[in-house]
């Protein structure tokens, strides 16, 4: 009976019915969009690099093939394998540069089929020689050829393709070659050459993407250092806008008579919750500081950092101090050599205690305490000390075998402003 459509997402970031639509809750849309832009950032250039490497290897393979031409019982089949490989490789490179940074599934499959044809033709040509390891050329290059799609398809898919290629090599070697001390090393090398480049490329691209994402997250969050003392944050502003829009829709539908009066209980409860959330949002946010927003908006810091700043003292820090504090927290969290270790960090600001001597310009000292878990004192990067020293005078110590830093941060007295 009601024609008012319930919004599919409420303003406190919870999606009705479905959770986690389009990204983690609590991360503002603008941030999600920026991160999405970052996901493909720079990988195009990496893809070209993979093409260069494959091409260099193909030149080597071709010269090897040419030098062995007379040894082949049927060199023309092997030559055909090379022709197919070169055509497929060049076509793939052109397609990628024309179509951009995405390879559709069907094209990926076509490329894989072409590579499979290359491997089959090459194996067929060298089968009578009974030494796959010594004579395989185009089929090894096919393994390198997989590298150029690493940036365009999921790592898992490319690894699966490399795995299938490895199995094909293994089967051919077992069925066709005699394994003895003279031939074993070349069989093993060939198997490794066919599969390892792809694995390495996947490893590199993953590391590269992680690096870019992390840097992007840091740069995005760093924009909070120029925020005013109290800020509403990206999230609050977006939600207030969405809330106003939802209220507008509801009122509009009442005004035009689409929603009949008196309202059915469901729509009435939507109106009630809209009113409540709108009230909350109108007063919310002004009490939060840049540091709160930085921590809550960052995917990396949000997971591991707890902030306690009852007096909203972080807002008093000047941009240089804020930048120092944020980068030191960032470095402490990201500077881990072991990938599966979860470091945590807690930041406590205040309370301001009166000092015995009167400070110049009536300034006050905000004590900041950084406590960590899993950060050995002797493995802290020197860059971290440099960042911390930009916040203020500090002393470091060890608490429960992890780093603790006490900083005395000198700020302008808010009473003077």
């Amino acid at each position: 009976m009601s024609s008012f459509l319930r919004p599919d997402e409420n303003t406190l970031g919870v999606i009705f019915g479905r959770r986690n639509k389009g990204g983690p809750p609590g991360v503002a849309k603008a941030l999600r969009q920026a991160s999405a832009r970052g996901a493909t950032l720079g990988t195009g250039y990496l893809g070209v690099g993979a093409g260069v490497l494959s091409a260099i290897q193909a030149l080597y393979g071709l010269s090897l093939f040419a030098s062995q031409w007379s040894l082949y019982p049927d060199p023309w089949t092997a030559a055909l394998a090379w022709v197919v490989y070169i055509v497929a490789f060049v076509a793939a490179l052109i397609t990628v540069s024309v179509r951009g940074e995405r390879l559709p599934l069907w094209l990926f499959i076509v490329y894989l089929v072409a590579l499979a044809a290359v491997v089959s033709l090459d194996f067929f040509a060298i089968w009578p020689l009974h030494d796959i390891g010594a004579y395989a050329t185009a089929s090894i290059s096919a393994g390198f050829g997989l590298m150029i799609v690493v940036t365009l398809r999921r790592g898992r898919e490319v690894l699966a393709a490399a795995g299938v290629l490895g199995l094909a090599f293994l089967a051919a070697i077992v069925m066709d070659s005699h394994l003895d001390a003279a031939t074993f090393p070349s069989q093993l090398n060939t198997l490794a050459l066919a599969t390892l480049p792809t694995a390495l490329a996947v490893y590199i691209v993953r590391g590269f993407r992680r690096m870019v994402q992390q840097e992007l997250d840091r740069v995005l969050v760093q924009s909070t250092v120029s925020a005013p003392r109290f800020a509403v944050g990206m999230l609050a502003s977006e939600e207030l806008a969405r809330l106003d829009l939802a209220a507008e829709d509801l009122l509009e539908s009442v005004a035009t008579g689409r929603t009949k009066l008196k309202l059915d209980p469901k729509t009435a409860s939507v109106a009630a919750s809209l009113a409540t959330e709108l009230r909350l949002h109108l007063i919310e946010g002004r009490r939060e500081t840049w540091l709160y927003h930085a921590v809550s908006e960052s995917e990396m810091l949000g997971k591991a950092v707890t902030l306690s700043d009852k007096g909203s003292l972080a807002g008093l820090l000047d941009p240089g101090q804020r930048d120092g504090l944020l980068s030191s927290v960032w470095l402490l969290m990201s500077d881990t050599r072991k990938q599966n270790v979860t470091r945590t960090l807690s930041l406590a600001l205040g309370p301001v205690t009166p000092t015995a001597e009167r400070l110049e310009n009536n300034r006050i000292i905000v004590p900041i305490v950084i406590t960590t878990t899993d950060v050995p004192r002797n493995r802290v990067d020197p860059a971290i000390w440099a960042s911390i020293s930009r916040v203020g005078r500090y002393s470091d110590s060890t608490e429960k075998s992890s780093l603790r830093v006490d900083i005395e941060c000198l700020v302008d007295n808010p009473a003077d402003q």
């Binding site: 490497l53 740069v219 120029s226 507008e248 009630a272 007063i283 930048d323 470095l331 002393s395 060890t398």
Partner: protein
């Protein structure tokens, strides 16, 4: 807690760098941070590649007949040193560990070939090729960054190629196996160069996204403030939503529709960028002039609650002039208190007594309802702290709450004149 060291980089009173210095430091430290990440990626890649090559060679050498047992036993410690270098290169002093790794690898290539006056076994060259082409050549990844280090690459490549050639049964100048070593060094160097080059490219784009994001954050902050600042608008919207939350009972449908249409129009204006200041909302007067007589607006509050079933009786001063922001806070807090009476007291009548002296306007909201135990109930309940105390404090006022079970509730609101 034990203090290890006291650092005193920044003397008190001079801890703040001028803004332009901060800006330069920002860019510098940004670049420094991502350069560190790039080095780590290169080092990890080198480790992956180096370990793979070393392991493949080790497997081949372990195949019976490829190499005499004595040579194998003598080579293994050198391979272990090489492996150690693969790990250490990702930890500290990469150039040093890379040089040591190359030396250990070269020594392994030489030892495995002993004695030099005997011809090598048929497959020795092939077996040690992965060691030369990946196990040792992987250090090229971390060495391409400067000219003296490139010299180290050239020396390493020449010596390993020579040793592998020496271990190969081949009559020509350069066997395909030795050529493969050169290929390994070339691919490794190109990969290192390409990865290094792609990081600044990505970094530049990351920072431009970061700059755009900073602007976006400022815009969003302004936008949120504009929306939060549109208080009068939100008051009328909230009033209408509250009526709708009660299904619109007790209000003439035509009047409610009229008001909903008016509010939707205002919200649309807000969304499209204007800051509408409604003069009236239905029967309520919301004149936003610099100073507003309290009496007329109080009357509108009374009417609003009258509609929702709470009879409000006014006592005391009718005409008080207040600045509009103070009036906003005062009225909203008053409405909030009356809303609490309506919801929780269990009675349908409330008394509001307004008094004023030279500096302060005071409102006492009294009901004879169920009351509650102040000890048992937190201020936060009913949003009292945020919606009443918070608002009043913002304009320099205050609120106090008196109640006990069974004897009603009294709230005293104070704002400065």
């Amino acid at each position: 807690m034990q203090f290890n060291r006291i650092r005193n980089f920044v003397p008190r009173g001079t801890g703040v760098a001028p803004p332009f210095v901060v800006a330069i430091c920002d860019d510098f430290s940004n670049m420094e941070l991502i350069a560190k990440e790039r080095d780590r990626l290169l080092q990890r890649t080198a480790r992956f590649l180096g370990l793979s090559g070393t392991i493949i060679t080790l497997i081949s050498l372990c195949f019976p007949g490829v190499v005499p047992l004595n040579n194998l036993v003598a080579t293994i410690p050198l391979l272990l040193i090489l492996t150690l270098c693969h790990f250490m290169v990702a930890r500290s002093r990469p150039t040093l560990w890379a040089a040591l790794g190359i030396a250990a690898g070269i020594a392994a290539l030489a030892v495995v070939r002993l004695p030099f006056d005997q011809p090598p076994s048929a497959s020795l060259g092939t077996a040690i090729a992965p060691l030369g082409a990946a196990g040792i050549a992987c250090f090229a990844l971390v060495l391409v960054s400067s000219v003296p280090r490139v010299l180290l690459i050239i020396i390493g490549a020449a010596v390993t190629t020579g040793l592998v050639q020496f271990a190969t049964v081949h009559t020509g100048i350069l066997s395909p196996t030795a050529l493969a070593i050169i290929l390994g060094w070339v691919l490794s160097s190109v990969l290192g160069y390409w990865l290094s080059a792609s990081v600044p490219r990505a970094a530049r784009r990351i920072y431009s996204i970061g700059k755009a994001h900073r602007a976006e954050r400022q815009a969003s902050e302004t936008e949120a403030q504009r929306r939060q600042g549109a208080r009068l608008l939100h008051d009328t919207v909230l009033a209408t939503l509250t009526l709708l939350a009660h299904s619109g009972v007790g209000v003439a449908p035509e009047a409610l529709r009229q008001q909903a249409s008016e509010d939707a129009r205002l919200l649309r204006q807000l969304r499209l960028g204007a800051t509408p200041t409604p003069e009236a909302s239905g029967p309520y007067n919301l004149t936003p002039v610099e100073e507003t007589p309290l009496g007329t607006t109080l009357e509108s509050v009374k009417q609003r609650f009258g509609r929702m079933g709470l009879e409000v009786s006014w006592h005391g001063t009718g005409q008080v002039l207040l600045p509009s922001d103070v009036l906003d806070a005062f009225l909203l807090s008053l409405a909030e208190c009356l809303e609490n009476v309506r919801r929780h007291s269990g009675v349908t009548q409330a008394h509001v007594t307004i008094t004023d002296d030279a500096t302060t306007v005071r409102a006492m909201v009294t009901d004879s309802g169920v009351g509650f135990n102040l000890e048992g109930i937190d201020d936060d309940k009913f949003g009292f702290r945020e919606s009443v105390i918070g608002r009043l404090r913002e304009v320099g006022g205050n609120a106090r709450l008196f109640s006990s079970p069974g004897s009603g509730t009294t709230v005293v609101l104070e704002v400065p004149k």
